[in-house]
Amino acid sequence: MRYKLLTAALAATAALQFAGPAAAADLEVIHWWTSKGESAAVSQFAKAFDNDGHGDKWVDSAVALGETARSTVMQRVLGGDPPGAAQFNPGRQYEELISGGKLLDLTDVATAGKWDEVIRPKAIGSACLVDGHWWCVPVNIHSNYWAWYSKPVFEKAGVPEPKSLADFIAAAPKIKEAGLIPFAIGGDGNGWQIQLLFQDMVTEALGVAKRDEMYTKKSAEIAGGPEMKGVFTQLRTLKQFTDNGYANRNWNDTTNLVITGKAGLQVMGDWARGEFAAAGMTGVKDFGCMIGLNEDKPVISTDGDIIVFFKQDNPDVEAAQKRLAALLISPEVQVAFNNAKGSMPVRGDVDMSTADPCMQKSLKAVENPSNIVTATNRFITENTNQQINELVSQYFADDSMTADDATAKFSTIIGNSD
């Protein structure tokens, strides 16, 4: 109902600019791409949609912070005023929207565009494919599983650059002796950075198959097993190598410790390249990037962003929504968007030769299906996710909690997850 108001309000402007057919529509898109680089990326989408030849118009509703943007979307849905489209992370954040019948079924667009063939890896497509129907469009892949290190720090400490987490742990005491922070991490946002590290270590320790089994079967047994205890023990070891300023530090400031040569290594998703680039540094040359926690066993997690479309009672709008859905996945838009965003495209048949060396590593790795790790969020709800956040950050902060306690608690969380 409000949508009509908006359409009416903007119709005049639209009519002046485009002498398009009557079926043209304005689509409001809620997303949290608000930083400078993200802005450049999202405007690739917007530009393409505005110029799709139908007179459509992208109405940009940016709301910083994923949880804030998602809350806004949910509240709008509840108020009967959903936006035309919205950004989500692949996972279970939107499953209630699907079961509640709030989302537009994109299956016909997907069939026409042969999404099941072009989208790779399969895991990223499966985030949108529920019960044989497509409910969203994956737009990019961000892998959480990266480690970034400062070359000067390792040089100063007189240790070789690491090839794995084990290498790093061996080298860390030397870095500490050199008066530097071996391991950089931040504790903001309920400790999500710690969980990111933790999930990396879980995948490394359990192996992909066992990890997937633990999450899909909610196996308290695996979650309470010796490998998990090993992960918690290793986490405690890493804690010894961090500084006491980590509390509530955001990832940008954490990355900056590596950029300025104050800290040795940080485990963070591939978006951290953005901070290095903003500081004028190029990957491999000025800093090191390690896929996963072991260069010999690269892993790519299928995190990233997807776009959902909300059911509207207007066929014109629905047509426009489907036009946008098709556009988002088209090769030209994929290249333009992902080059600007610094993420990987969801299809392999595009030219990404201009990407930086770290990204090239990533693009190579993603082509091998055995390197692919399904995003944790696909298995667990936000509720469980936050419980894990709390557990690992509490364990990280509180040295009196033993690895056994933590393993037991983790086992309970997984066993009770929904």
């Binding site: 409000r2 108001l5 802005s39 992208w58 806004t72 955001n250």
Partner: protein
């Protein structure tokens, strides 16, 4: 000052000759230890209060490379005003990169009517609760104060459902209603305590003269409430101007207030942060309430005061 004192001393000498020795003129002001302590306390407290804003200002004048070095307290090596210009005009807030400025008018559009309406309602409420106690008035007031303790997020769902059922969800009237409702508890408390300090005789005299509810309100209470109204204006302007949660949900996309842009500039999930722009944007957003503090600071303090005088 000094010159005036010297000339003032001239006739003193004559007077002293006639009247003999003895204290004359103003009591000599000794700078007492207490006075020094007083200023020391205030200055130290002020410095403590100023630490963050000092850091914000110097950071906003530095370039990002300098900020990355992490010398928090240092003055900018090469001061630049570019972050301020960026914050107001060029910072990205989504697809658009127009800084804070586009939301300014929306914020004014929301703040002005919300402040005016909520204060009118609250002053009438406070007046009615104080002088025309009806059955259950205290219960009502108690519930209202209780309402102040509820986190907004808890009642946001029923409010969304309610407003959308009357077609006001995501509209300018909708957000104004929401701000008015949530301003009610504290403002009513403020006005009630204020009116309670007014001598009842004043009210009784007016009633004896035959004045009614509105007449007494407009002709007697309202003119006396100017100062407390200024207090309420300051509280409400600060609250509503800085509101993000309600603005983004209830105002609707075309009316999004400036805080949405501010949030988009300073917050990011996986993007690069530009701290100098963030600092400048925060100070710029706070400018309106700050100006109101400076302009009406005197009234703010004399405001509640006027209620209690000569009781």
């Amino acid at each position: 000052m000094t010159a005036g004192q010297i000339t003032a001393i001239q006739p003193v000498q004559e007077g002293q000759d006639q009247a003999g020795a003895g204290p004359f003129g103003p009591k000599p002001r000794r700078i007492s230890a207490g006075r020094i302590g007083l200023y020391a306390f205030l200055v130290v407290a002020a410095l403590f209060f100023l630490i963050p804003v000092y850091i914000m200002i110097v950071t906003s004048l530095k370039g990002m490379p300098e900020i990355r070095l992490g010398h928090l307290f240092n003055l900018p090596g090469e001061p630049t005003f570019q972050p301020w210009a960026d914050a107001w005009l060029h910072a990205c807030t989504g697809r658009d990169c127009n800084g804070l400025s586009p939301g300014f008018y929306n914020s004014v559009k929301i703040t002005l009517p919300s402040v005016v309406i909520s204060i009118i309602c609250a002053s009438v409420n406070g007046y009615a609760l104080t002088f025309w106690p009806y059955r259950g008035a205290n219960l009502l007031f108690g519930l209202l104060v209780f309402g102040a303790f509820v986190p907004y997020q808890v009642v946001i769902y029923p409010l969304i459902i309610g407003l959308s059922s009357v077609g006001l969800f995501a509209s300018l009237p909708g957000i104004i209603i929401v701000h008015t409702i949530f301003g009610m508890p504290i403002l009513t408390l403020l006005f009630r305590n204020f009116y309670a300090a007014i001598p009842v005789e004043l009210f009784k005299a007016a009633r004896v003269d035959g004045a009614g509810f509105w007449r007494i309100f407009f002709h007697i209470m309202l003119p006396m409430s100017v100062p407390i109204t200024v207090v309420a204006v300051i509280l409400q302007v600060t609250g509503i101007w800085n509101d993000f949660l309600f603005g983004i949900v209830f105002a609707g996309r075309p009316n999004w207030p400036m805080t949405v842009q501010l949030n988009n500039i300073v917050n990011t999930t996986t993007g690069v942060r530009e701290y100098n722009v963030n600092m400048a944007a925060t100070i710029l957003t706070a400018a309106v309430p700050l100006i109101i503090y400076f302009v009406s600071g005197r009234w703010f303090v004399r405001g509640i005061a006027a209620g209690a005088v000569k009781g």
